[in-house]
Structure formats: structure tokens, C-alpha cells
């Protein structure tokens, strides 16, 4: 850790963040063009100005735009959540998915899908995200409680996360087996992490969460620096260690929970975002957290664009695209790490 802290980066954080923002805008535009029905840049421009055909208008404003917005926001939220968890546990392998949060949200979502299967329209926008958020919180609390033994260690958290995840998926299979074919497919797609069917209602339901939690997380990021020094030093510097830690964990869980609630079981993004950020900027959390947010948003946007188009007309859930990159990267981190 010491070694990394003293390592200076050639480029300052501001230009790097600018580049990330530009990349997000680029892919934003690209993603608006691409899809089952291709919109040329000119058509796109005209539709944006309100001069497109009704069909073009519908494709762009009702289908593509909300989905793109959600992809960026969910990516940001998950990456920040991962950055906080890694900062708190002082372990680069911490990720909301590994810590059982996705499983908890998944179980809640599957339960809701099961009980409201007859009327799927009602489910999606309102009940599902809240249930998933509740599930995420409950799973996080469970993992934390089981890992508690005169404090928690990162290793125990990770291990207990796997155990709780295994238990939850057993219960999940119990419910999924009773589903009919269509509902079962719906649940499978949700669990794989998919931005299918996102509309403005989703965006509106999700925005308050992200607009409160994301700035809060970035504002609180300085406490991560202090907590990173170890509990004794942090206390010595006048920080209420346990209180701040609990608050940060709550922010991280709420972020991950609301993101998974909207985006489905997307794993490994909370791992990738902060790690990419760490390669780009200094490990000072005040810079790291916003950079991780941008990297996460960009990543999920790219992944969703790929998932949407690579096997068109079929869609690959974005969570699978992210896993395909994230899981090998996790293994690579494991190979490099010394203390796990």
C-alpha cells in the first residue's frame, strides 16, 4: 500500500476524467445509432431536434435513450459501491456481487416475479426495484453479522459472502422450479443482469437514489483515505471509525442494491471500475471514487452496446458481457495478490 501511495502519476486526474467523459459521450452517441434498426448520424440528429419520423422518435426516445442513461448510471453506482467496499475492507477483491448483495437482490426479485407473474406490467417499474433493494440490504446485513467476530476481516467477509450467496441461490432454485416457462425465462434474464425493458419510469425511480448517493459517496470519500490508514491511526486522527465505516457501508449497499434493482444481477463491475481507476489516477479516494464512477459508467455502456448488437437480433444480458471480462480479471488479481 505504501508503495502505491508514493507512486506519482504522469498525468493529473483532471485530464483523465475529461477523457473518460468524452469517451462516455462518444459511446453514448454510438449506442444511439446502433441497434436492430440502424439510425444514421443525420437521422439521429434530426430525430433529436424533433424532426424525425414517429417511428424514429419512438426508437430513440422510448427505447434507446432511457436504456443508455440507465447503463451509465448503473455502471457508475456499482463502481462507486465497489470502490467503497474495497476501500473499507482494504482488500482489492471486494465486490458487491462476491459479498452476496446480488444474491440477496436476486432472491427478492425472483420472489416478486414469481408472485406477480400473471401481470408482468405491474412488476417491473415499481415493486421489483424496491424488493431488490430490500433483498440486497438484508443479504448485506446477514453477511456482516455472520462475519462479525470481534470485528470483521476482509477474508471472513468474502468467505461468508460466498456461503450466504450459496444458501440464497438454493432458496432461489426452490422458487424458480415452480415457475412456468415464460416466468422462468424472465427470472433467468433478470438474474443474468439485463437492462431489458428499461423505460423512463425506471430512470425516474432510479434517479433520486443515484443523485443522492453518488455525490454523498464522493463527498465522504476522504474518510476512506483515513480509514485506509488502519483503525488506530484513524481514531488518533479524530475519526469516529465505527460510525463512519457503518455509514460508508450503508452508502455502498444502498448504491449496489439500487443498481442491481434496476439493472439485474450485474457482477464484477464493482471490481473492475475501481481497479481501472487505480491504474489511471492516484489512490487518493477523493480522486479515485469519481474516476471509478466514470470508468464504471463507460464500461457498462460499452458492455451493453456489445451485448445488444453482437448477436442481434438476440440480446446477451449485459451482466454476462461484464462477467466475461470481469471474472478473468478477478482471477488475474487473485494470482497477483500476496495476502489472500
Amino acid at each position: 500500500m505504501q508503495k502505491i501511495l508514493t507512486k506519482t502519476k504522469v498525468v493529473g486526474p483532471a485530464p483523465i476524467m475529461m477523457v473518460l467523459v468524452l469517451l462516455i459521450i462518444t459511446f453514448f452517441l454510438l449506442s444511439m445509432n446502433l441497434g436492430m434498426i440502424h439510425l444514421s448520424p443525420i437521422e439521429l440528429f434530426q430525430t433529436l431536434l424533433g424532426n424525425g419520423t414517429d417511428k424514429q422518435h419512438m426508437i430513440l426516445f422510448d427505447f434507446r435513450l432511457p436504456r443508455i442513461v440507465i447503463a451509465v448510471l448503473v455502471g457508475m453506482g456499482l463502481a462507486v459501491s465497489g470502490a467503497i467496499m474495497q476501500g473499507i475492507s482494504r482488500n482489492g477483491l471486494a465486490d458487491p456481487g462476491i459479498l452476496g448483495i446480488n444474491a440477496g437482490a436476486g432472491l427478492a426479485a425472483v420472489t416478486v416475479i414469481f408472485f406477480t407473474a400473471d401481470n408482468p406490467q405491474n412488476v417491473n417499474a415499481y415493486v421489483l426495484p424496491f424488493a431488490a433493494l430490500f433483498g440486497a440490504g438484508a443479504a448485506a446485513a446477514l453477511v456482516y453479522a455472520f462475519a462479525w467476530k470481534q470485528g470483521v476481516t476482509a477474508k471472513r467477509l468474502l468467505l461468508v459472502g460466498i456461503a450466504v450467496g450459496a444458501g440464497i441461490s438454493a432458496i432461489m432454485s426452490l422458487i424458480m422450479i415452480k415457475m412456468r416457462f415464460y416466468t422462468h425465462m424472465l427470472a433467468t434474464i433478470w438474474l443474468s443482469g439485463s437492462l431489458w425493458g428499461t423505460n423512463w419510469t425506471f430512470v425516474l425511480a432510479f434517479l433520486p437514489w443515484i443523485f443522492i448517493l453518488l455525490p454523498l459517496a464522493i463527498y465522504k470519500a476522504r474518510y476512506l483515505n483515513v480509514l485506509n490508514l488502519g483503525d488506530e491511526i484513524a481514531t488518533g486522527l479524530g475519526t469516529h471509525v465505527e460510525r463512519q465505516r457503518l455509514l460508508m457501508i450503508a452508502i455502498a449497499v444502498a448504491l449496489a442494491g439500487s443498481c442491481v434493482a434496476v439493472g439485474g444481477g450485474i457482477g464484477f463491475l464493482g471490481l473492475l471500475g475501481p481497479h481501472i481507476a487505480r491504474k489511471l489516477v492516484s489512490p487518493n479516494h477523493k480522486v479515485l471514487v469519481p474516476t471509478a464512477a466514470l470508468a464504471g459508467g463507460l464500461l457498462l455502456l460499452i458492455a451493453d452496446t456489445i451485448g445488444k448488437n453482437i448477436m442481434a437480433p438476440y440480446e446477451i444480458p449485459v451482466g454476462i458481457v461484464v462477467s466475461a471480462v470481469g471474472a478473468p480479471y478477478f482471477l488475474y488479481l487473485l494470482i497477483k495478490s500476496k495476502n489472500v
Binding site: G167, L334, S337, V340
Partner: protein
Amino acid sequence: MNSLALKEEKLETNKKQRSNPILASTLIIVGIIAIILFTLVSIVVGAADISLDTVWNTFFHFNPDNTQHQVIYQMRLPRALVVGVVGAALAVSGAIMQGMTRNPLASPGLMGVSAGASFMLIIAFAFFPESPYHFLIVFSFIGAAIGATLVYGTAALSRGGLTPVGLALAGAVVSALLGSFGGAINILFELSQDLMFWYAGGVAGSKWIHVQLLFPLVIIGLVGALMISRSITILSLGEEVATGLGQKTVWVKAIGSIIVLILTGAAVSTAGAVGFIGLVIPHITRYLIGVDYRWVIPCSAVLGGLLLILADIGARLVNPPFETPVGVLTAIIGVPFFLYLARTDRREV
């Protein structure tokens, strides 16, 4: 860990080394009697009521025109046999893995072996539907090998190997990766829910063809395991000790791994990913009779078979007439045990 603690651990291990053969043999005999007993219970219990009388008659005065005889012969009996054999195979797999790697968390479920087998089976279902059972077994083997290679390859590449926690993480991540690829195929090919049932541990469809293919493979695996059991005991004392005693550890590990792949591949291809038997049973066995693998392996086989037979009976009784996936029942035992292991930092294998 300092050297003193290490020495103490070795002494401790040496003390437990002397497994009590009488205790172990008693365990095996009692276990086998219990297996026979509960196999009978397993045949009697189910959607259709069947009396023990009928079971007796099926065995000794089989009448092909009698529906109940047919139910017993075509459905209940092969199912009971498959369940027992699968349980034994998974438990022995876990015992070998834990002994070879000295890792208390090693088991086919946690180390990606089952996930690999499941993944290849999904591929088989998607691209080669209607393929015969022995074809599925081959896929299952390949998958088990892929999963194990990914997890243990990660461990081999990392400097100084991985700790139990690191291996468990590698296993979880490999399982997640293979699971999400499997999920993608599932979504693209709209594979039916049967897959899900099988995935959660479906033994309901067991037929004689399964028994015929499963038995020889598992027997080969078990005999092989018994043959290398002495070497595994030595290996479980630590690589240095084993090398010091003149053991060719590479060979033992290679043979052990092949046996694990045979046993797990066969089990998963038949019963799906039944979790936790391979984790829990070896721990219980070592707790009961010590760490001599000449006894741990046969006792694990007996206890594993017994546990899965019990779980399978439970699966039919929980919510009749529907069947609960047997994997859910093993998880009820397995998850708390896993949590307990996660909270204890001890390592004794």
C-alpha cells in the same frame, strides 16, 4: 504461523493419525445397514403408496403385469441406487480434494468442478439435444476438468499458491463465470426448466441406464481412491513431509485429480449440481474417526451415500406431491456448516 505452532499442529495431526480401525469398521458396517434400511424407506416413500410387502414381492416374485412392481422396478429402485452412489462419489471426491490440498474448503462444489460439469451439460443440451446418456457423461467429465483446471490453474500461477480463502474465491468466480455463460446459452436457446431442475439436483428421472453407467465408473473411482488412500494421508501432512518420506507427490496428485474428475463428472452428469456433500461429509468423517485416509475414504463413501439418500427422502416429503430439489436439502445442512468453517480460522485436514 510460527514454527512452534506448526510443530504443535504436526504433533496434533500425528496423534489423530492413528485412526481407530474398530471404530471405523463399526461406522462402515452401521452405515451400510442404515443405507440398506433407508433405501427400503426410499422405495416405499413417494407419490404412490407402496407397502414393504410389495417391495419384497418385487424382489422375489416379480410380476411384470403388476403396476406397483413396475413402479418399484423402473423408478424407485434405480433412483435409490443412483442417489446412494452419487452421494458416495461426491463425498469421496471432497475427501480426496481436502486431503491432497490440505484445504478445509476443498470440495467439488466450491472449487468449480461441479460448475464446469454443469456448464458443459448445458452446452450438450443446447447443441446436441437428444444425445444419449453416455454422451452426456463424457461432456460432464470434460466440464469438470475445465472447471478444476481454471481454479487450480489460478492457484498454480500465483506465487506461493493460494490460501483456502483464495481458492474459495477462485472457485466462486470460476463458477460465476461458467454460470453466466451457461445462462447466456440458456437464454439464447430457451432451454426448458428441466435444466433448472436438473441443475438444482434432479434425481427424479433416474433410470437403469444411469445405474448401469454410473456404477462401474464410481466403483473404479472408489477402488482407485482406496489404492492411493495411504499416499493421500502422507500428502495431507504437507508436501515437504511427503517429499521427505520419498513420495512422488506429482503422481499422487495427478492420479487423485483424475479420480476426482471421474467421480464428480459421473455424479453431476446424473444428479446435477448437488452441493455441499463433498464439503461436509469429509469433515464429519475426520471428526469421527481421525485423519487416516485409508479409513476416511470408505467411511466418507458410506456417510455420503447415506446423507444423500436421507436428503432425497426428505425432498419427497417436504412438499408432497411435489418434489423439492435435493440440492436445496443438502444446502440446508451445508450452508451453516460452510459458515461455521468460514468463522473458524483453524486448518486441520
